[in-house]
Symmetry: C2
Subunit: 439 residues, 2 copies
Amino acid sequence: MNIILLSGGSGKRLWPLSNDIRSKQFIKLFKDDAGNYESMVQRVYRQIASVDPSAKVTIATSKSQASAIHNQLGEKVSVCVEPCRRDTFPAILLAAAYLHDELGVSEEESVAVCPVDPYVDDSYYSCVEELGEIVQRNQANLTLMGIEPTYPSEKYGYIIPESSERISRVKEFKEKPDRETAQKYLERNALWNAGVFAFRLGYLIEKAHSLFSFTDYRDLYAKYETLTKISFDYAVVEKESSIQVVRYHGDWKDVGTWNMMAEVMADSIKGRAVMDDACENTHIVNELNIPIICMGCKDMVIAASGDGILVSDKERSGYMKPYVEQVSADAMYAEKSWGTYTVMDVQSGSMTVKLSMRAGERMTYHSHDYREEVWTVVSGTGKAVVDGMEQILRTGDVVTVAAGCRHMILAETNLDIVEVQIGENISVADKKKYSLEEE
Amino acid sequence: MNIILLSGGSGKRLWPLSNDIRSKQFIKLFKDDAGNYESMVQRVYRQIASVDPSAKVTIATSKSQASAIHNQLGEKVSVCVEPCRRDTFPAILLAAAYLHDELGVSEEESVAVCPVDPYVDDSYYSCVEELGEIVQRNQANLTLMGIEPTYPSEKYGYIIPESSERISRVKEFKEKPDRETAQKYLERNALWNAGVFAFRLGYLIEKAHSLFSFTDYRDLYAKYETLTKISFDYAVVEKESSIQVVRYHGDWKDVGTWNMMAEVMADSIKGRAVMDDACENTHIVNELNIPIICMGCKDMVIAASGDGILVSDKERSGYMKPYVEQVSADAMYAEKSWGTYTVMDVQSGSMTVKLSMRAGERMTYHSHDYREEVWTVVSGTGKAVVDGMEQILRTGDVVTVAAGCRHMILAETNLDIVEVQIGENISVADKKKYSLEEE
């Protein structure tokens, strides 16, 4: 079975833990069976692997998430990176072409596409496996999963099936309705459309050739920027008459707000925090290294990271978007391919950053035009290359890198460095990359 | 008129803005007439100066507060520093001896003693002035201010006067009563004892000689550690039969909890923060450089500093002491004689600190046995002396100071430095001081 996980969307709905460069699927608020914290993407992968250890998982994502996926899942999954943002149809197509041309998946094999962010139990992935098996029966071109609704929600699209059987042909699709209309859909055995569908790989490849002119994955990748932005629903689902749906009635939660996240978090407190006895139904997530004390908080969520602090009534947490836009500045924390990057201090003309590199990782060789950097190694050992000269890094060593000077760091052990950036135009955009082999 | 302001008490009742080394009287939450933020101690001084521009103010305080007082009031006040902590009688006596022997105040002059921390209107200091005038009439040995109670409080001691006249002889003193007893005191025209009293300077000096053997201020200072810990109330007030009290009925607030502080803060938000429209009766103080968003908070106080974050129902804020003790670590922020010291990062074997020095200020010449330091100048200019060698400091300069090496910094302009401390036993206690002149 091939599974394409769509890991898109940078968003601020779980601010300050999610931001422009850090998506909610990477926040570690769940726990695995051994009691270790895990993120949504780690949980999803673990669930798939436990249901079907032979499943081949490919994550379709954007450049900005590739490092975080690599950090959290290592080499266990294939990653198909969009060169730029197009809508869901181009993204799924690119992943399908990647499966076909890079991984050698046959056109006859089943492929299921799933979003990476619902909170579900393992039976959801058993149902995904079942979609793949049904696809092999060739009874329909597309096979969808429909979620049994628990209430007449206005937040989801609906699938109207022809019958109430567990597997049924689809009669029609409906956009998000008002509550009254939703109630009527429920009387017609309608299901929530959760964006899970399966097909033969060849089906999608053929579909794509009718819409875009391309030869293979690499050609599609090269032309990606020229593709029309079009959603999978609009390009494929709405035009397809041969669709069936499988009813899923297990747990399914859309953890798009802190209120919902609090329901499924492993612990009511993560990080340094205490609550007094007068606190009720309150959740705290603290990524800062200073403590939080909560006194008499009721039905609240408190979340703190290097980007900011949220103190919210749970019900109100879904309405914070305009306030986040009002306050948000550059993200203060990022996961890099080599570890983490935390801004500690910003003032006019300088920025102080902590780099925590994982043993064995290295940066790309690069330079900055508008800033110099002073590195102080606070723990660990590694090597730096500065203008082609290699030098050893040990605790207490200081390296000054002038503007324009090419440099990189390689961590031998876990390596922590305080980096002071000095210059009048400090920006993430001020970066030129080089190949180290040219030196 | 001479006023001794007692600035004691490091406490955590306004945590995380007050801590072991930063008292509540230095937190800037009020505003002066020009709209600039000011602290309690700045507000008190401004009020005294506006009521009596010729008042001579001496602040009796501990070593740990001397720098903060100097930072906030400059040379406008005299500061009498206790060499170690003894109770209120030794502290007041030391200040009285300081007035007499160092400032040349005559024994006939009036001296008023006031705590530095109540929130009052200017008429309070007019009443203090009046105490001094009454003292000169020699009708009693001690003249106290009594606060007209607004309710039968269990939190204060009571003064029972002989009559309900504005100025009356004192009949007796009562410890903090229960509510019922307090109600009975109120029926007897009782007043809250706010710790404000005035006397002829000679009265206290004589009193002191009957209790301790000393010649003058310097002798008393040298012997200070040997003095018995005894409160002014116990040593003087309870033994004195000739006492009168002046009724004060203006505003008087004891801002000892966040709930009370919120009532008198100049703004409902100080620092980077936003509240949504569903917030009610909520106050935010944010000293961090990251934003706070509050959604749907009712009757709450949120306070954040480098030491931690408090999220509290206002009524509950008075009960946080045990929780603060549970979480609190070393203070992360300190006012020094030369500026401010902010801890940015702590890990095993290292600590990263930001030093912000004011133009013209200098550190003492010192060394550390167990850590090396790497300084990176992020803005400003100054000079460093390292093992007797002077060197210029400019933006981008890096200085490494080995363990054992003597050093100091002098700021020519405002000077910001990121200091990385490296060593296995980093502690504020690891400091040896030297005279620079010896070099």
